[in-house]
Each structure stands twice: as C-alpha cells, then as structure tokens.
Amino acid sequence: MKECTRCKTGRAVVKRPKTAEMMCKPCFYHVFEEEIHQTIVDNKLFKAGDRVAIAASGGKDSTVLAEVMTTLNQRYNYGLDLFLLSVDEGITGYRDDSLETVKRNQEQYKIPLKIVSYEELYGWTMDAIVAKIGLKNNCTFCGVFRRQALDRGAMLLKADKIVTGHNADDIAETVLLNLLRGDISRLTRCTSITTGTEDALPRMKPFKYTYEKEIVMYAYFKKLDYFSTECIYSPNAYRGYARNFLKDLEAIRPSSIIGENLHIQQETLSKIPEQGKCSRCNYISSNPVCKACILLDSLNRGMPKIEIADEGEKVEKEVVPTSVHKTINF
C-alpha cells in the first residue's frame, strides 16, 4: 500500500498524470475540484446571476461537469442559475438511451433540463439524414447542426453562457486535427477557454486543464451515472487516429496533453477571414452563408454531396475555394 503524498495518511488510489502525485480519494476529489475552481476564478468565467447552460450528453465529461459545477456553485456561492441542455440528434438506440441518463442527472443534481432536437430545429433527424446520404459525411452534418442547436437551446433558456465538458485531451486532439487540416483559423481559436464572445453565446471550457484520466477516475470513484457507447453512425476514424496517437504520446510523457505553447505569427493571423454573420439565419459564420444553412439546403434539395469540400473530399464544380477558408458560391 502506498501513502497519499498530500495528507500522508490515506491510502493512495490514483496517480495524477499532471504531477505524478499519489493521492487518496478525499485528497484527489479536493485537488480535482479546486483546480477547476481555480481555472474558473483565474479566467473570470462567470459572474453572480449568470444563467449557465451545461451542455449535457450523458457521457462521462458532461456528467462530471454537472457534478462539479453544482458542487462548486454551492461551495463558493458563485450565484449561478444552472441548467442542463441536451441535443437530441434523433439517433435511435444511441441518443435516446443517453438522454435517459441526462434525465436522471436532472433529478440527481436538481437542475432543470432542456432538450432540443434536430427534428424540431431542422426538420431532419440523423436517422433520416443517414437514410438519405448514407454513412459518409454524416458526422459533418451532425457536428455543424449540434453547434447551432446548443446555441439555440441556450437562447431558449435565456442563458448567458454555455459550459462544455471539453477536457485537455479533447483540446490536444483538436489542435492536432486543425494542424493536419491546415485550418489556421480554427487552430487559433480552439485552445481558448472562452469562445464565441462576439455574437454567439460565450462558451466556456472549465475542464481545459483537466486530464481525461482524472475525469474518468473521478466518475468511477464517485459512482456517477454516465453513459458510454460509441455513436452507431460514427466510427469518426480520423479523430480516432489522432486520439490514439496522443494516447501513445501521453504514455511516454503525460505533459504532452497540456503542452500549450502554440503561438501563431501575427502576419498569419491577419490573413484569417473575420467572423461575420450568416445572411440567412444570422448565426456566426466566416462565410456569407453558414455551414448549417448550406448543408440543410443540400439535404432539402436532395444532393448533399456538393457541400462537403473541407472534409478532404473531392471539390466538385459548384464549390469554388477562394481563400484559406473554402467558400461556397451561390
């Protein structure tokens, strides 16, 4: 038996990837929660009276987020009104099961839950989209739609902010993916703890510095009720490779997850198109018409193939890349 390096009395049960410290359960809970509190305070993520929507999928990260946000809100009197916000993509056998978990979370944490569905927002469930376009590029639709759906749901809740469960590992993955895609614009944005401050609702990542290992350990020791099944439509192979690569790096050097020395030259930054608004739906967009409107249009016209240019697919005739960012002409 190894002794806790913090209290010197308890039985150590977890080795922290960030510091290699060995901790007993109470000390681990304490430092885990306090570090997130510190992140919230240092970055001034909230102010008293904020209405905060917790993006909740029923998975490990968002379940731990709901637990930690309610705990810290009480412990430190943040004065936040918390809500759970879930998106129902309309995936039978996957999202309907995970939404049951979120419904239980609503009871457990005593915070209201709002569910918005692709069907009510867009007139299409993912089941219907996959039936139409098959299993290629369906994740593009889902990703673009989810982003907006969260904003729309948050607006219905009159929320001031959205918090998401993105953790240090997720962000490291996204950095890598944006590098591989050469998407400088997203690369500069993806490590920010707060995004979308201008027009869209601000999104915060209180787990920005939190390792996935610790989130899973916390959920396991606290016996939190979460759902873990891969989406039936998404092998999401490309991200999967990036993830495996990072896990291999982490096994050798755990700090590679946090490594955040990402500086982009000012000269490069000035070439990035500014974010404006979609001329159709008013949602934040780097292009005249946002990706969701374009995708929706293609679905409704019954030819979804032309819109997927930036996923490494062939660029077909209607799509004319004009800058670093691919722009779609109408």
């Binding site: 190894k2 039985r11 150590a12 049960v13 977890v14 080795k15 060995m22 999928s57 998975g59 490990k60 990260d61 968002s62 469960g165 993105h166 953790n167 590992d169 997720d170 996935e212 290992k213 989130i215 899973v216 350990m217 396991y220 020791f221 873990s228 099944t229 891969e230 989406c231 993830r243 495996n244 896990k247 291999d248 982490e250 096994a251």
Partner: protein
C-alpha cells in the same frame, strides 16, 4: 484462483457486452502481464487490437486493482492474488 473482472466505458462491447466477469484462473501465481494474455484468450470476443497493444493494455484504457490505480500497484508486474477485483475502463468513448 478466483477473480472478479469488470469492463466498462464501452470496453464491454469487446467482451460480449458483458461487464461483470467472475472467473476461475487455473494458475497458482500469475502476473498481470500474463493475465492480460489469459483474458485475451479466454474472455475477449472480438477486435483484440482495441484491448491490447504491444503486450499491454491499449493506451487510454485505465486499470484498477482492488479500486486502486494500477500505476501504483506495479502495473504489468503486479502479482495477481486470489479474490482480486480488476476493473478496465476505456476512456476512448465519447464524452
């Protein structure tokens, strides 16, 4: 020896969707490294590459021995004992 082995976080899908396994291992002594091979041969139903990689668990799978992080228990060299409880949790599934 009698062992309790649990797979979760999506890992159970490789083990016939069964989370809890109570097993009898016909060995007097065995280290975790060899037990992983035993699990592969006796419990694993599909896609072994999603469980093991280069003689150890695939990075991203957490292992607990009697509710303790295996990194504190000697990892692969841990000498498994009768009535031990082993838990394997995948962190690779959606959040």
């Amino acid at each position: 020896m009698r062992l309790s082995i649990e797979f979760s976080g999506g890992l159970e899908l490789l083990f016939g969707k069964k989370k809890q396994h109570s097993v009898e291992v016909d060995k007097k002594e065995i280290v975790l490294r060899d037990l992983l091979q035993w699990i592969k041969e006796n419990l694993l139903k599909e896609r072994p590459e999603l469980f093991l990689s280069q003689q150890t668990v695939r990075p991203g799978i957490l292992v607990l021995i009697n509710d303790c992080d295996w990194e504190l228990m000697g990892g692969l060299d841990y000498k498994v004992e009768d009535k031990d409880e082993l838990v394997f949790i995948s962190t690779l599934h959606g959040g």
